[in-house]
């Protein structure tokens, strides 16, 4: 088994580290798997969270992802065919979400309201700031839900989690060229949606102001 862990700081965007792991899927020990978990749990959780409705469901599916991935890695004969582990985790997660919804469609559950997305991270945050953040995030989430699902996935993978084109190609089993096209279309689609939401918001505010003016008259 060969592991090399290169940690390069991506100075351009945020302090998010770009981590490249070359691990042959065979011979992964539980210890190594623990570290893999550490590296991927948050992105996978995020990815799942955008697709499901609640934190609990996201948690369940995320843990299931790691277990199922392990099963495949440790037991299957084809384990050494996995080219990229990060992409692999997303594949597993993605399939699990699909299964999840398939099962759910048999027992329809009324969709609850979107929960608070952010855990109170910072005490220094005021309530208003937190609400502002939430509003923004919920806007993006809403937009994501309104565009086709595969577009949403691509946006998240490419722009949020900084996956490589080759990795995305592995997940969705398409060529890299196709992936590039998809990325372009997905971003455009999201942009349009966000603009739409923005317009609606402005309209709402405008209407409210008008009605207030009318009321005070």
């Amino acid at each position: 088994m060969s592991i090399s862990l290169n940690t390069d700081k991506n100075t351009e965007n945020t302090e998010k580290k770009e981590i490249e792991i070359r691990v042959t899927a065979m011979n992964i020990t539980s210890e190594v798997y623990g570290r893999l978990y550490d590296l991927h749990v948050k992105p996978i959780y995020r990815f799942v969270y955008f697709k499901v409705n609640s934190r609990e469901e996201a948690e369940d599916l995320t843990s299931e992802t790691f277990l199922k991935a392990w099963d495949y890695i440790s037991k299957s004969n084809k384990a050494n065919q996995i080219r990229n582990l990060r992409a692999f985790f997303y594949q597993v997660a993605s399939n699990l979400v699909v299964d999840f919804y398939r099962k759910k469609s048999l027992f329809p559950v009324p969709m609850g309201s979107l929960e608070t997305d952010i855990e109170p991270l910072d005490d220094k945050e005021t309530c208003i700031e937190k609400m502002e953040k939430e509003v923004e995030i919920s806007e993006v989430r809403k937009a994501l839900k309104n565009i086709p699902e595969n577009y949403g996935d691509i946006v998240i993978w490419y722009y949020l989690e900084d996956l490589k084109i080759s990795e995305i190609a592995q997940i969705i089993e398409k060529t890299e060229g196709a992936v590039r096209v998809l990325i372009h279309r997905a971003l455009k689609s999201l942009k349009r949606e966000l603009e739409k939401i923005d317009k609606e918001k402005k309209l709402l505010i405008h209407n409210r102001e008008n009605s207030e003016i009318n009321a005070s008259v």
């Binding site: 843990s63 299931e64 099963d71 991270l121 993006v140």
Partner: protein
């Protein structure tokens, strides 16, 4: 809206994070799961046997069924594993009488039931016996302070019993394994395990006896000590019988010689005690005669070390019994308090059926004939019936305690 703004908004999503506590607990859960699944064997049985922990066994059992809907199986296994690990750690240190003790026993039973190979079963049973012994010593240590007065702690009795039971079970397993398997190397290996384990037990017992001052408790556990000694002799006998080459016989011979030495030392020790404690001339002479006989038999055993170690071990057993009798006399003699103490059986080795020769006890008091297996608490009634208002060191007549042969 510019593309850049869109990208910024997307990046905002980074703030969404899972709950820290959940991340940690899931991590340990996943790693545990991975640890279990670490074996490469595809066969269910093999992965079965390679798991040592209960939760490992259960989880590997569950995961070996490729159930389509993984979720219920996973959560079931998850609950068992998480619960299992947490509870098991707490239960490990529990003692008889505590709430988690039944969990501990239950898990041991399950583990034993899931072990199929002979060697592992034997080793496991000896380990379990060791656990029972540890529990026993813990109890005796804690009951030292409480029971200086002399009343026996019933918990000690039950712990002693369960240890003896477990030891017997281990020996039985070893015997049946010896019968069914043809590989003498294996039999020898098992006998060696038995020997090492029983020697360990003996040391532990010595420590415990040393620490504990209460005479009642001592009585209970010295019985355990003799059982251990008997078990060790059985193990050595098995070893002697299974040994093939000259190296094995040498090892056995060394061990037997050691044993003879320790038995002699014990006899000497008892003799010293006799001289100081037993004031009554008759008893004194009797005890010394017993010890001389014991030493004589040991001398015979010495001659047999090289040629017939099994027989030598038999002789050691007999000599042990005689020494024990002398020891009992001392205990009876030094008993000042009239409260009856439970007389433990004199445990004898299961293999040889040798009777205590009649010359040993030429005394008018009633004594049971050979073969009688009922233990009579002869000491206590004798003490109470003969006790005078002034506590005397030695009652007038002391019937020789019977030596029931088991």
């Amino acid at each position: 809206m510019t593309s850049r703004e869109v990208l910024c908004k997307i990046k905002e999503l980074e703030k969404i994070e899972p709950n820290d506590a959940w991340v940690k607990s899931t991590r340990s859960f996943v790693v545990e799961y991975a640890k279990i699944g670490e074996t490469k064997e595809k066969q269910v049985f093999k992965s079965y046997l390679s798991q040592e922990t209960i939760s490992g066994k259960l989880a590997s059992f569950v995961s070996s069924f490729r159930i389509r809907t993984l979720a219920p199986a996973v959560s079931f296994a998850a609950i068992i594993m998480l619960m299992g690990n947490f509870v098991m750690v707490k239960a490990e240190n529990s003692l008889p009488g505590e709430k988690l003790y039944t969990v501990k026993i239950l898990s041991e039973k399950i583990q034993l039931a899931m072990t199929f190979s002979d060697d592992r079963r034997v080793a496991m049973k000896f380990d379990l016996a060791e656990k029972r012994l540890n529990e026993l010593t813990s109890i005796t240590e804690t009951s030292t302070g409480a029971n200086q007065g002399g009343a026996a702690n019933p918990a000690v009795g039950t712990a002693a019993e369960s240890f003896k039971e477990q030891l017997n079970s281990a020996l039985a397993e070893m015997d049946s394994a010896a019968k069914t398997n043809t590989d003498s190397k294996k039999t020898m290996a098992l006998a060696k395990i038995a020997d090492t384990k029983t020697s360990d037990y003996a040391k532990k017992m010595e420590n415990a006896l040393g620490k504990n001052a209460s005479s009642a408790t001592k009585g209970q556990i010295s019985d355990v000590a003799s059982k251990i000694e008997a078990a060790n002799i059985s193990a050595l006998t098995a070893l002697a019988k299974a040994g093939q080459d000259s190296q094995d016989s040498k090892d056995v011979a060394v061990k037997v010689e050691e044993k003879i030495k320790t038995t002699e030392e014990k006899a000497d020790l008892i003799q010293e005690k006799v001289l100081t404690v037993l004031v009554n001339k008759e008893e004194n002479e009797l005890a010394i005669k017993l010890l001389d006989q014991a030493r004589g038999i040991l001398a015979e055993a010495k001659k047999l070390i090289a040629t017939d170690p099994a027989k030598a071990l038999e002789k050691i057993t007999v000599s042990n019994e005689m020494t024990k009798v002398a020891e009992k006399m001392i205990e009876a003699g030094s008993a000042v308090v009239a409260t009856p103490s439970p007389t433990p059986d004199i445990a004898a080795s299961p293999t040889p059926t040798v009777s205590v020769s009649p010359e040993v006890s030429p005394d008018p008091s009633p004594k049971a004939t050979d073969g009688a297996a009922t233990p009579k608490p002869t000491l206590s009634p004798a003490v109470s019936s003969n006790s005078t208002p002034a506590p005397s060191a030695s009652p007038k007549t002391t019937p020789v305690p019977t030596a029931p042969i088991l």
